[in-house]
């Protein structure tokens, strides 16, 4: 099953033999992955296995040393992140990265396109849907961690994105908040968006993802459906040692 299984006919993102080195560390080593349009794809692996670096390479925060990243048929490897974002790719960060001295409302409206007149109305509507209206004029740095995660999700809803990358969205989040985040992911899928996420919450990952890539030491050591991945011996080794 280690061979590339025909996952989906319509591939929105394809990384081919991507490598990235930081000083003496090979953070990503000849890694390849595909993301099917409209699907939820997962990336798992131990801490330091290169998941976050891979996300940074895909979203243009880092430039790969070699390899191609094909998004919507174009090679975006090394393109600056605002260009990648304008092509319809949004992301969240491992630790939330809201603009601390700006209000919740401002955090959401600042990322929209120039000529988008209804930005504030949309932002207020999204906040109201989650019962967060009363926080709209609050500085982001005053929010609790869970609230910040939620606002980061809502900020993503403000931009027209086709592919959303979520970097450990469930880490440090309580069950109530987790449920809200999952609802939002469902909503995105219904809207036809594609999701690529990484997390350590195995139960959620196995349930949510249609396809999973397993990273270890910067390489993809296995991929397939959750059931296939779970059975893979190398995955067990990567996680628990042999």
């Amino acid at each position: 099953m280690s061979r590339v299984a025909p996952l989906a006919t319509d591939i929105i993102l394809q990384a081919q033999n991507v490598s990235k080195r930081f000083g003496g560390i090979q953070a990503v080593d000849n890694a390849s992955l595909q993301v099917g349009r409209g699907k939820i794809t997962g990336v798992i692996g131990p801490n330091g296995s290169g998941k976050s670096t891979m996300f940074n390479l895909i979203t243009g925060l880092e430039k790969p040393d070699s390899g191609q990243i094909i998004y919507k048929g174009k090679n975006i490897a090394g393109k600056p992140s605002h260009i990648v974002n304008r092509m319809g790719m949004g992301r969240t960060f491992q630790l939330t990265r809201l603009f601390g001295t700006m209000t919740v409302l401002e955090n959401m409206t600042v990322v929209t396109k120039e000529n988008f007149g209804g930005a504030e109305a949309l932002a207020r509507e999204l906040l109201a849907n989650l019962g967060l209206s009363r926080l709209s004029n609050e500085y982001a740095s005053n929010l609790s961690y869970g609230q910040q995660k939620l606002v980061e999700f809502l900020r993503l809803s403000m931009i027209e994105s086709d592919l959303i990358l979520l970097d450990e969205p469930f880490a440090g989040v309580n069950p109530v908040m987790e449920k809200k985040l999952l609802e939002q992911i469902d909503a995105w899928i219904i809207e036809g968006k594609t999701i690529l996420l990484t997390d350590h919450e195995m139960a959620i990952m196995m349930e949510l993802c249609e396809s999973i890539f397993v990273f270890d030491y910067g390489s993809v050591i296995a991929h397939g459906t959750p059931a296939e991945v779970r059975e893979d011996r190398r995955v067990m080794e990567a996680y628990f040692g042999s």
Binding site: G48, N85, M102, V110, V111, L132, E138, Y139, Y145, Q147
Partner: protein, 355 residues
């Protein structure tokens, strides 16, 4: 790639761990209040040269000059969080463009001011493009070097700049009052005799209006986003380099024109005085004292500190640097948000982008 464990403590979204802030109802009328205040101030300042003595006019000109410097510094450095020491550089370049054009070309002074401003804008763009890719502290050092390099060039390129001898500007011939002057003739005479003052008034007014426009616009929000988290801003599609460089170039125009007006006002410039770091010190100190990243903070700081320092200056010009250095230290340590933050904490002013 260190293991970072996010805090596990968090609460459901409806929990009240924050006293959600609601601005007062009159917050949205602040813009109109400014407009009224601006019109009253401008009318008062327009007729100041008729009513007051020359000393007061010169002092007011200095206040307007510092308002221009501190306000324009605030755009990139207050909103955008990139500390710049380049204001002295642009001030010097502007005064040299102005002085040399008047010296060699004998042009009318108004186009000269505009050329000085555009020149500084272009130089700001060219300097900002490579240096604003640097992280904040490195950009600050680069701007220190830029200003010093400008001074060295002005000294060394003496074929054009006349080097250390400095440049003398044409003397403004004052018109004397005559008997039976009509109101219109008298107004023309006042304008002619105080043209530098009026030029500075126009410049400071434009700077203040632009500050409001910028501070309340999406552009201003983008600058705040860059200050708070540049990587996230970029990942969310904000063209950070474009925003920074354009803001920097725009903010260079104002010290440039101010320098040119200053050169005409004092009648003589040399590299050591117009490229002096003190122009950056004034912009930075007044701006952070009033409140960096706010609209009226830099204006307030400029007015208060210039009037206070005028009293210090009269006694001892060197004391001035001690006082400004001390203020910078105290502000950074004890009131990082400046006067505006103090007033906002005490609820005298609402928390608003219009402040």
């Amino acid at each position: 790639m260190a293991t970072r464990t996010p805090p596990v403590t968090d609460q459901a979204p409806n929990d009240t761990n924050v006293d959600a802030y609601t601005p007062p109802g009159w917050e949205k009328y602040i813009g109109w209040a400014y407009l009224v205040g601006l019109i009253i101030s401008v009318i008062f300042l327009l007729r100041l040269p008729i009513a007051a003595d020359a000393y007061t006019v010169t002092l007011t000109l200095t206040v307007l000059l510092v308002i221009t410097l501190s306000t324009s510094w605030n755009w990139l450095s207050g909103f955008g969080g990139y500390t710049s020491f380049a204001h002295a550089g642009f001030f010097g370049i502007g005064s040299y463009i102005g002085a040399l054009l008047l010296h060699y070309e004998k042009m009318h002074w108004i186009p000269v001011m505009i050329v000085a401003g555009i020149g500084c804008g272009i130089i700001g763009f060219l300097v900002g493009l490579p240096t604003l890719r640097l992280r904040g502290p490195y950009f600050a050092i680069a701007m220190l070097a830029f200003t010093e390099l400008c001074r060295v060039i002005a000294l060394a390129w003496d074929d054009v700049t006349l080097g250390g001898n400095g440049v003398f500007l044409p003397i403004l011939r004052l018109q004397l009052p005559e008997e039976n002057m009509s109101f219109w003739e008298e107004a023309q005479m006042t304008f002619h005799n105080n043209q530098n003052y009026y030029a500075m008034l126009v410049l400071a007014t434009i700077a203040c209006i632009w500050s409001y426009v910028l501070g309340t616009s999406r552009w201003g929000l983008k600058l705040l986003a860059i200050r708070d988290d540049e990587v996230a801003a970029q990942a969310m599609g904000i063209k950070t380099t474009y925003v920074k460089v354009t803001t920097f170039a725009g903010s260079a125009v104002f010290p440039g024109i101010a320098g040119a007006i200053y050169a005409r006002h004092v009648g003589y410039i040399d590299p050591v005085t117009v490229f002096a770091i003190i122009w950056s010190i004034r912009a930075i100190t007044t701006s952070i004292f009033g409140g960096r990243g706010t609209i009226i903070g830099p204006i307030l700081g400029a007015v208060v500190l210039t009037l206070v320092s005028e009293k210090v200056w009269e006694q001892d010009p060197n004391l001035y640097q001690i006082v400004y250095g001390g203020i910078i230290i105290l502000v950074v340590l004890f009131m990082p948000g400046g006067l505006m933050a103090l007033l906002q904490q005490r609820n005298i002013f609402p928390r608003s982008r219009r402040i």
